[in-house]
Amino acid sequence: MLPESRDFQPAHPEPHAGPVPLRPADEVMQLDRLGSLHGSRISFIRTVVRKMMDEGWRVENRRFDIDRDGYGTAIYRITTPEHVYEFVLFSQYLDPSQRSDRVIANAWDCAFALCVGEVDEERLESLRENIPRQEAGRCDASVIVLSRANRSVRNFDSMVQALSEGRQPDPRQIARVGYLYRTTAVYGNGKFGIADYPKIRDWEDFGLPFSAQMFTVYLLRHFSIAQVEHIAACRAPETAVRMDDRLKRYLGIGNSTGLGMAPFLVSHPKLINQWVLMRETALARCLGETSDRDRLERLLTLIDRGEQHTRETVSDDSRQTEHNETLVEELGIARDWLRQQAPEGRRLWQELSDHARAHWSFETQELLHSLIIELYPDLVDELELYMGALERYDLVPDMTLNRLIEEIESNYDWALAVDFDDPEQTRLFWYRSAEKEEPRLGIRGEEPGDDREMPLDIARQVRRAYDALVAYREQFGGRTTVVEFLLERPGFKGIIRRVQSMSQTTYGEIRKNLLAGDMLPMHLLRCKLSFFGATKFDPRSSRWVRITLFQGAPLVEDIGQPFDDDWFMPLMPDPEEVLG
């Protein structure tokens, strides 16, 4: 007899982590810790900017048919060593009453797409018919990203006003809202007829997860700056000025995200495992290094910057504001603590991490980890290549019930610890609304729809499967195979396959019952957004967050110039210097 089968062809690279062990999943995958993560060197926006700068991608303005109010068509051509792409954007008047960041919106200030190859007139007309309609339109596989965005009206109008009057916009305003546009969805991987991800998976340019989507957002930033400069120049050709480059770099793109992002984290556990594994590997590699004076000084500089960046982060959300204040205070304490240490000949970063875990908040712990990762580009940056995962979930049908029960007990103990007889543990349910299939969260017993709830209840499914398996084993013995069990109880196939697949990974399962009344969906959103590289988390509720991407990133005009990839946690340009 052969041993029980397993993954014969693992598709999940596990590069070495060095002498320091990876943090246990029980620590890393707690929901509130995941909801405190910050971006890092291997976040997707950092990766795509590095690639663009290193390879000297060319971004050319091919068409800018934008009128004096900012409406019309813009096309940018992007030439990489591998391909030519065109970014096509349609800007249109939007009645203010229609401006909504929700998925259920039907019109936006602008809609745009990243296309493979050159877009001729015939194709442009097809795009013009479909791109502004977003979910209601149809695209083809020559489009790799489809997105839309709404203006930050206050920023947009006041910046146009300032530039047209020959003034620079006030950096303090950009510190408060760091963008001209907010994207409300950025679609990739086959949505509404666009190219499936496997088409580009092996491409050098955009094979890494979300890199095409992030680059598209970057191009929107480029357009947004050109657009306000253009409108200002049209309005007042005699007085208008161009925006100061420091302000341009300080402008990012906003993103507004609701619950729609949450199911992704549950339905792609192997991908999430890979993201977390690479971040933890990066951290372990850095924690394992012996500290030195130069890097200590660098870390102190980064802590200063993180502290100031957080001070410049504004949120109306009292909980986030409290967290930011704590973060600022604890970063100050961390700086003082580090200044008392002699770095030579010890693993000071590991000691700092241990000290942080014992004394400071999750926000502070995880920001310090992100900053420590900044110290070792040579150890870390290569890990960006391993952020993808082959998401295959196969049953191991010949596994015995004994073995499967053991795996559940050792890997899903967190799920078995939930008391599902307590109504509070099933207070919430997830469902998909008939309105554009928007994921929503309801309260059981108070709202309709719990008969059609989405299967995000991993802990409860594991509990039910476990109970059924134990009962079956009592009747038929522990040598019974999984497939024999499933032939009698086919309803458990999905969860058993997941348990068997995920038991082979370190991370991936979020260790929280997502039905519990005390579950904060915000943590799920923040977790995913941190891997994108988001900053300036500004929750609008427990289910809705606005963030900023690419704030501080180099401009298209900077491509070809020396680049030191040090734009994490950007600071507001000095108002006195900019405004004069």
């Binding site: 089968s5 062809q9 596989a141 086959g190 007829g193 295959r392 609304s433 309105e435 299939e437 196939k493």
Partner: protein, 254 residues
Amino acid sequence: MRVSQNELTGLCRRAFEGLGFPPGDHEDAADMVVWLEQHGLGGVDTLRWALTRLTSEPRNAMKRSFEDSSLGVIDATGNSILLCGSLAADLAYAKARRKGLSVVKVHDCYNRKLMMGYLARCARRGMNLMAFWRNSEDPVVVEQVVSIRAYEDYPTLLLYQIEDEDDTLTRNRSVTLIASPHFSMLQSLHPDPDAATLLQVVRPEDFERQSNRVWEDGLQVEDDVWFRLKELSGRTLVEATEESRNRGAGEGAE
């Protein structure tokens, strides 16, 4: 209409969920349909035909009619292979893993060619597999043999026209699976000319070429099936209320 592979997969999954397929089965069923479509063998057309039955006929639980360590017989009780094919293949897989060789026969099922995609999934886990079934396409009987080698991505499919007066295999709508981790069975391209005529050969490279074409250009799906699937997937959606609109997604965050 032109759709992507991911879009078709997602819609099929939700449609099967809407049809009441259990968790795990609705993913497998969708993957089987899309695999066949992606490889140019009419997965969506097969589904169109199946949907009529899936939406109108009662679904009975499959039964294990006979079993020993390396042989199994499953009575699918008139169900689509979408509902029993994956577990039948997994049973063959498990028995072969334990005993080196297995034969599993599934009786009384339809949509048998949809099985191919799941066999490819089993193969990538180190199993050589062969499946064999007969369709009656009056006035001829067509025998279909699909085989795939362990760790390979694509099978070989052969279709023969058969002269066989005993139509038991055709009438009982069965499919036979043979699995072994140790050896693969080679199909004969030149069967007995008096009994069988080779109608079609689809080789692994043909499957691969077709698959790559789909990644490049997407899939073409007839509107009627697409909207039928939309309708079925709609069964999983919850009608919006003013409260759910305001609270359910963002608690009045606008």
